[in-house]
């Protein structure tokens, strides 16, 4: 910041806010890598753990059982720190050469940092790698659905802060209809419709009445909390046996794929909702980038006037996309009442929709990246619960804080000037 209080108009502003001006030079990724490497090195330096850490890579029911891997905690951590420093150096080198840090390097860095941290945190104990990752995936399901819904809506130019409301209403609808019909499928359908209903209200206010979309989103979240809590205490709770005990989707291992070591138990021994999630991610990505429909959606979000000029019905496209996004986000809500616990509770999403929203922005409005971000959040929260079971030297509150701190770092550093679709949040009025 300039210390000179007099602002001279001809000087360039000290704090560049334009997303069009990426900072030249080193870039932020290597710096961030370096910071993490130093942090982990500091952990081992100030609190060395002279014990062994065991990584368990198999479950009891595997056909092919991988052996457990036992490593000395301190040595492993140091090796990983060296790897991390190398990755930081490589990132700095490619930044100097004008290239962006490749995604595989970020992934490699993440794995190294996690291994280092786990070896240190779980010294003297066994890390159930499969349980950690499978649980992370399960926790990420509503976030991924929510983030997909968010990406779709925003790509069409409608900011969707109401993801949380869609998840919560989906969970409510799934519990109610699932209980009445006794079928989890009917519950899932109801969840999707409930999500779409919230989306419809969002659409009416945001598209037809030009109300600021952030406002509608926030208010819808409050409205859904109020409605579901009201209905819960007046209708669901007094008749819990009939109206609030939905059947659950059972775990459904896929025959051959489920037997692949490590990958099988994590990816292919889940509930049907997880498989639907894979499909949803794939279909949304393909449809958004490879179909005429996707091109129109993106055109409407980037430059509605141009889209209108070539004959695309802007607001109709937006309505359709927002409704589709609501269906998807609603399906995520079903996870709460048809998979995790088989009853609805007031405010049971716990603000997950806001995390999904963060995943959308973290993921730069791209379905795949947003999914990865959602998985990261799921991983962080499951890591916390796993570590609290095996006991770790870090207070649990700091572990719980971690995903949010990482997001702040990421939004400020890694993502930086993430660029939203150009017409995101801007209502379109036909002149």
């Amino acid at each position: 910041m300039s210390t000179d209080p007099i602002v001279r108009p001809d000087e360039p502003p000290v704090t560049a806010l334009e997303p069009t001006a990426p900072p030249p030079g080193l870039g932020k990724t290597p710096v961030l890598f370096g910071v993490f490497a130093v942090l982990i090195a500091a952990l081992v330096l100030f609190k060395p753990r002279h014990e062994d850490t065991t990584f368990r890579l198999a479950t009891d029911t595997d056909l092919v059982k991988l052996p457990e891997i036992t490593v000395p905690a301190d040595a492993t951590t140091w090796v990983m720190v060296v790897l991390m420093v190398l990755a930081a150096a490589f990132a700095a080198w490619s930044a100097r050469a004008g290239r962006r840090t490749p995604l595989w390097l970020v992934a490699l860095f993440g794995v190294a940092a996690m291994t280092a941290f786990l070896s240190w945190a779980a010294a003297g104990e066994t890390v159930p790698v499969i349980g950690l990752l499978a649980g992370a995936l399960a926790l990420a399901v509503p976030l991924v659905f929510g983030a997909l819904g968010g990406v779709l809506g925003e790509r069409a130019g409608v900011v969707n802060i109401a993801i949380d409301g869609q998840l919560l209403f989906g969970a409510f609808g799934a519990a109610l209809v699932g209980s009445i019909t006794g079928s989890p499928w009917a519950g899932l359908l109801a969840a999707m419709l409930a999500g779409a209903l919230v989306a419809l209200v969002l659409g009416v206010f945001a598209i037809t009445y030009y109300v600021d979309q952030v406002i509608v989103g926030v208010v819808l979240n409050v409205l859904v909390i109020g409605l579901t809590s009201f209905m819960f205490s007046q209708v669901l709770a007094p008749n819990a046996a009939d109206l609030n005990s939905p059947p659950r989707f059972e775990r459904m291992p896929i025959p051959l794929l489920g037997e692949i070591p490590v990958i099988g138990p994590i990816l292919f021994r889940q509930t049907i909702l997880v498989y639907l999630m894979y499909a949803a991610v794939a279909i949304v990505t393909w449809a958004l980038y490879r179909t005429r429909w996707g091109l129109r959606v993106r055109a409407v979000g980037e430059h509605p006037k141009a889209a209108d000029t070539v004959g695309i019905k802007v607001n109709l496209t937006r309505y359709r996309t927002v409704l589709l996004a609501g269906l998807i986000a609603g399906a995520g809500g079903a996870t709460y009442t048809l998979v995790s616990v088989s009853q609805f509770n007031r405010e049971m999403t716990g603000g997950a929709g806001y995390i999904a929203l963060a995943a959308v922005i973290f993921g730069k409005w791209d379905p795949i990246r947003a999914t990865l971000a959602a998985l990261l959040f799921g991983f962080a929260s499951n890591l916390q619960s796993v570590l609290s079971v095996i006991g770790s030297p870090v207070p649990s509150q700091f572990m719980l804080m971690l995903p949010y701190v990482v997001t702040i770092f990421a939004v400020a550093g890694l993502v930086g000037h993430s660029r939203a679709p150009a017409a995101d949040g801007v209502p379109y009025r036909k002149a």
């Binding site: 409050v222 922005i361 993502v415 000037h417």
Partner: protein, 411 residues
């Protein structure tokens, strides 16, 4: 996301009127003016929301549902049940929030009004914090974290310093406001320096702040009360408790006066100071503001600092005034989010926020009375509040429902 857009838009007014009537009379014009004004839209929005709330109350009332089953045979029973449910609910609301006619002494009768003022104080200050940020084009969803941090800081000063009240109380208030300011300032600074979206950062800071305060409350050396395993601090000593302004018979404390002062301060800041002019300029159009020499990044940081201090004052109000039994992680009581609706309803104007805060404070006080005497869940208040804001934000919808005339486009 378009943080570049001012979040509160009066967009709908700019549309051309739907129909042009030839030669309206002067009376007609005057009536039209009243009906098309923002105040009437606000009034009808509240009316509409209350109607929807009433339907929800009827829908879940046992008596109404019972009589509805034989409405064909004896419709009188049904309408009587409806009338009883509605009058019961709203008289309970009034008894809880303004005037209790069921007790004898004046002091007891007026007590609900003082409860309304007590509940509205944090809503007003936090609403000011959110509204001020709105005016500069920033969306502060971080009320929860800012309130928690502020309450914890004020509580920490409260239990750890042993000072006379004349020093102790201001010190604790200042510590709380400072903590809130710094917590929100992070979001402002990051936005200014890196372009990080303040919506994301403030949401994340809510969680981080929550766990930070939670951690502090589990450590005896920081904030946890000795001899307990609960995450809660000691009760506040008398020297930091905000004094009761109407005597010990009422719960209304100095926090309400502080809230009024905050309204006056923000009004002055926005309407009479150079800094406020810069805030509004940045909020209206950051590019134009930058072009005319305003340091936009610096403005973002300063706005968030002030907004955080205001929201922090709401946290202080809770920790030192309303809930003096000790700081806990539920100290914010949802006010951080309620403040958003208060700011929206008040259209981010200080006096509007004052009115909206009073209204929502009355809903809060009355909602508890409704729950206690009529068994209507207090969540109905959330529904009505959010509907009010939703309707107010969409004047064309309200006009269409009540067949109000559209506002003339002033060319």
């Amino acid at each position: 996301m378009s943080s570049e857009q001012p979040p509160v838009q009066e967009t709908a007014e700019e549309r051309p009127p739907a129909e042009q009537k030839p030669e309206p009379s002067r009376w007609h014009l005057a009536l039209r003016e009243v009906a098309a004004g923002q105040v009437s839209v606000a009034f009808f929005s509240v009316l509409l929301a209350v109607i929807v709330g009433s339907v929800m109350i009827l829908f879940t009332d046992d008596q109404v549902r019972e009589t509805a089953s034989y409405i064909g045979a004896r419709p009188g029973d049904f309408f009587q049940a409806v009338q009883e449910a509605i009058t019961g609910a709203y008289s309970a609301l009034v008894r809880g929030s303004i005037w209790n006619n069921r007790v004898d002494t004046f002091e007891q009768q007026i007590r609900p009004l003082t409860e309304t003022l007590k509940f509205s104080a944090p809503l007003i200050t936090a609403g000011l914090g959110v509204g001020l940020a709105f005016r500069a084009g920033l969306f502060n969803i971080g009320g929860r974290g800012q309130m928690l941090l502020a309450g914890a800081a004020a509580g920490w000063v409260g239990v750890n310093a042993d000072l006379p009240a004349i020093v102790h109380l201001p010190l604790a208030i200042a510590a709380g406001m400072l903590a809130g300011a710094l917590w929100a300032g992070i979001a402002g600074l990051l936005k200014a320096r890196t372009g990080a979206h303040e919506v994301i950062v403030t949401i994340m800071l809510n969680y981080v702040g929550y766990y930070l305060v939670f951690f502090a409350l589990t450590r005896k050396e920081i904030l946890q009360a000795p001899g307990t395993i609960n995450p809660k601090s000691e009760p506040m000593p008398d020297s930091v408790v905000l004094p009761k302004i109407l005597g010990d018979k009422f719960n209304l404390h100095l926090g309400f006066v502080l809230a009024l002062l905050a309204v006056a301060f923000v009004w002055w800041l926005l309407n009479r100071s150079a800094a406020g002019f810069r805030f509004r300029a940045v909020g209206e159009n950051p590019d134009a503001a930058r072009a005319s020499g305003i340091d936009v990044g610096r403005t973002y940081t300063v706005v968030m600092l002030i907004a955080g201090a205001l929201v922090g004052l709401a946290g202080v109000n809770q920790a030192l005034g309303t809930v003096t039994s000790g700081v806990a992680t539920d100290l914010d009581a949802g006010i951080g989010f309620d403040a958003i609706t208060v700011a929206l309803l008040g259209r981010s104007r200080p006096l509007g926020i004052l009115a909206a805060g009073l209204l929502f404070g009355a809903f809060k006080a009355g909602g508890f009375a409704m729950q206690a005497s009529e068994n209507i869940p207090v969540d109905i208040v959330l529904i009505v509040q959010s509907l009010i804001v939703l309707f107010i934000a969409a004047p064309p919808l309200v006009r269409a429902i009540f067949r109000l005339p559209a506002k003339e486009a002033t060319a």
